[in-house]
């Protein structure tokens, strides 16, 4: 695979190319050693080959160019706003960016809000997501596993704007009684303190919708990793009389730990960048706030702030928003990097070289790839896995 096939003479090459199927009788001679000549004869490199190699290499390189371009153009456009004097600049001391002395003073509460809200989404969503993954991989009837997994993946196919509207019209009113109850009975906890919301536009509502949106990512990656657990480890645990849950704790979790941590981090990365749900549902203000049940004292996220202020922004304000986007880009890049590194550094048996089975690369995290793989072959793959395990 690594090189063009050797030991094929030029004339044979053309014959083979013309009649791929029928030519086995004419070409099998070419596989024989060519009279002991020391130099292997290489296939002639055709223009089509070279062009195609160039094209595909170029496409691969373009990935790097695009990523570099994203960083570069964001930096170039954000620089004027970051460098500007926010107190005196006429483009910045009006509207949404007034009352902020520097770019960093503007972005700090946004970063806080982003992390705070994502953490809420993660706390609500991750345990459920891992539970679902376990259910699909180990508890559900085997015949149904594929369909059930597909149903969860479908959650990822719903556009974020639809979740946003759903949050506004369904989740907000639905949560109102709970909001009042929590505020009344548990108001001494900082999170639930403050004036309880009357509209439902709370961080709690936004966090719940975000949690729903990160469910499928964490579930699909965790599910794939749970399924990769060496079958023999599981069977050994069961053979010792372990119940299913004990087997999962003894065999599945130790193997899957790093993968699940990475999956959770990828879910966090998704939550950090989610825009629409939060922008539609929550009535925000640019403050450091722990409160999740109020109307006017909600933290704001970077992404939602960009969408809400972009249309009316002056040129410099837009550049300031691009600056906040740059910060978001850096944060989510860092989270993604950590997620990828964790799985390769601390993966199962990462230390022992003899380990035969370890997670090389996380399963695809984007819903489209996950669905595609499910569509095409997941059923087959699982059936095959079972077959080999039984054999």
């Amino acid at each position: 695979m690594s090189e063009t096939p050797a030991v094929v003479s030029e004339s044979r090459d053309e014959v083979a190319n013309d009649q791929t199927k029928k030519s086995s009788t004419t070409t099998h001679r070419s596989g024989a050693p060519l009279g002991g000549s020391a130099r292997p004869v290489r296939a002639k490199s055709r223009p089509a080959d070279r062009i195609f190699l160039g094209l595909s290499t170029g496409a691969a390189v373009s990935i790097m160019v695009i990523l570099a371009g994203v960083a570069l153009f964001l930096i170039v456009q954000a620089a004027p706003a970051i460098a500007a004097n926010w107190a005196t600049n006429p483009g910045l001391n009006v509207g949404a960016t007034a009352h902020h002395n520097t770019f960093w003073g503007y972005v700090a509460p946004l970063v806080w809000g982003t992390i705070f809200v994502s953490a809420i989404a993660l706390i609500l969503g991750a345990p459920v997501a891992i539970g679902i993954a376990l259910f699909i991989s180990h508890y559900s009837p085997r015949r149904l596993a594929g369909v059930l997994g597909y149903l969860v993946d479908l959650l990822a196919a719903v556009p974020s704007i639809v979740f946003g509207l759903w949050g506004v019209f369904v989740i907000r009113p639905f949560l109102l009684p709970l909001t009042v109850w929590l505020n009344h009975n548990l108001g001494w906890i900082p999170f639930f303190s403050g004036q309880a919301s009357t509209t439902g536009s709370t961080v709690l509502a936004g966090g719940i919708v975000l949690a729903v949106m990160i469910l499928p990512i964490i579930t699909s990656i965790s599910r794939e990793i749970f399924l990769q657990t060496p079958r023999l480890n599981e069977e050994a645990a069961l053979a010792m009389g372990a119940t299913k849950w004990e087997m999962i704790r003894l065999a599945v979790f130790p193997y899957a730990r790093s993968g699940v941590v990475s999956a959770t981090l990828l879910g966090l990365g998704r939550a950090l960048g989610e825009t629409m749900a939060f922008a539609l549902i929550v009535s925000p203000s640019l403050i450091f706030s722990l409160k999740i049940l109020t109307d006017g004292q909600n933290s704001q996220t970077v992404a939602a702030n960009i969408v809400l202020n972009f249309p009316e922004g002056t040129t410099l304000q837009r550049q300031a928003l691009i600056g906040t986007g740059l910060i978001l880009f850096v944060i989510s890049l860092a989270v993604n990097l950590v997620a990828r590194v964790i799985v390769t550094r601390t993966g199962p048996d990462a230390k022992s070289r003899k380990a035969k089975k370890r997670i090389e690369q996380l399963p695809p995290s984007d819903p489209a790839s996950v669905l595609a793989i499910d569509d095409v072959l997941a059923g087959e793959r699982r059936a095959k896995k079972d077959g080999t395990a039984r054999a």
């Binding site: 791929t20 456009q77 719903v158 974020s160 509207l165 960048g273 819903p367 595609a372 072959l377």
Partner: protein, 369 residues
């Protein structure tokens, strides 16, 4: 399990218990408990006069977990009780995830179905000022959104699919051993899938405002933003599909002296075509619903704009956003058009997903590993 080990040496007295079945709950106990707890919680809620679906689901889930745990720890043992409770918990987790899926789809259909008719699809949004009553009324229409969605997504697909598939071919066919370029690109693709969609929109806006001045919004700009989101998806799914083509097929082809180019185009790609088409279709379905990047890069408009290279352009997703968040004075009509656009969007996504499924089934992969 429960056979007393102490009696091994002594002769058992009294009725001999069946050691295989003793100390176990009956076989369908979980089903019975589910039915029992549903009935019990319905009774409790009816007594306090708050019988509703949500309360019923929550209370019966709690009742079930408590009852099954208690029964199991009385009859069986603590380990089995834990096992049964965990089984119940993960099942509840799964059911919990189905709630938003069903609820979202039901809400969109119920609220959107009244809005979507032929007039909604075939006209653009228009505002009419009535001088007698001094009221601006809005007639809703989604034509500009539909056209914009198709143009923006179409251009994005035209750019992303070749780059994505060629990159996947490079990664799988040319750099299978793993050189530095392929390792870097694989890593960057993984990282790229994590780029927030809004950042992609800002990138496109930054790029085009550098080139064409500060108010350069266009459909093409939005397409570029979508490309940033779509390329890694296409690469990743195509890569997975190409990896599935069995090595023997390629080796057989090479053994016949077929060149690399011909092997890829005549053997590998045709074998993986169903998977590739499925992956690409789902990638399109993924980006077609993106709102934030299109909103930033193409802004929004009520007018029909078919020129991708000049002027603001709406998509269905941005219509759904602006209808609610930036409504016209006719609030009812604006929100109605938001739901209508959301329903059309869901329909598009469902159609794309169906196409993907059908392609995956009908052109079933042959020669996969």
């Amino acid at each position: 399990m429960s056979a007393p080990s102490a009696t091994r040496s002594s002769v058992p007295r009294g009725p001999i218990v069946n050691s295989l079945k003793a100390g176990q709950l009956p076989r369908f106990i979980e089903l019975y408990t589910v039915i029992g707890s549903l009935a019990l919680s319905a009774g409790i809620l009816a007594l306090i006069g708050r019988l509703n679906v949500v309360g019923e689901a929550v209370v019966s889930a709690i009742v079930y977990l408590v009852v099954i745990g208690a029964m199991s720890s009385l009859v069986e043992n603590r380990r089995k009780a834990t096992d049964r409770v965990v089984r119940g918990l993960v099942t509840v987790a799964f059911l919990l995830a189905m709630v938003p899926l069903v609820s979202t789809l039901a809400t969109v259909v119920v609220r959107g179905i009244g809005e979507v008719d032929w007039a909604f699809i075939s006209t653009t949004t228009a505002h009419v000022f009535n001088p007698k009553t001094l009221v601006v009324s809005t007639s809703t229409g989604a034509l500009q959104g539909i056209v914009g969605t198709l143009i923006i997504t179409g251009i994005a697909a035209l750019i992303s699919i070749p780059i994505g598939i060629l990159t996947a071919i490079y990664l799988v066919e040319y750099a299978a051993g793993g050189n530095w370029l392929s390792r870097t690109v694989t890593f960057l693709v993984d990282v790229m899938t994590g780029i927030p969609s809004i950042v992609a929109g800002l990138f496109a806006f930054a790029l085009f405002s550098l080139l064409f001045g500060p108010k350069a919004v266009s459909g093409f700009s939005a397409s570029i933003a979508l490309c940033v989101l779509m390329i890694p998806i296409v690469v990743r799914s195509s890569e997975e599909m190409l990896k599935l083509v069995s090595l023997e097929l390629r080796e057989a082809s090479y053994a016949l002296g077929v060149s690399k180019f011909s092997t890829i185009t005549k053997i590998v790609l045709p074998t993986a075509i169903a998977g590739l088409v499925t992956g690409v279709t789902l990638a399109i379905a993924r980006v077609i619903g993106e709102t934030a990047p299109i909103f930033i890069a193409a802004s929004f408009t009520d007018n029909l704009n078919t020129n991708a290279f000049f002027g603001a352009m709406s998509s269905l997703a941005t219509m759904a956003l602006t209808g609610y968040k930036f409504p016209s004075t006719d609030l009812q009509a604006s929100i109605g058009s938001a739901w209508g656009a959301a329903l059309l969007l869901i329909i598009l996504v469902v159609i794309l997903n169906l196409i993907a499924r059908i392609v995956a089934r009908v052109f079933a992969p042959k020669g996969f590993r």
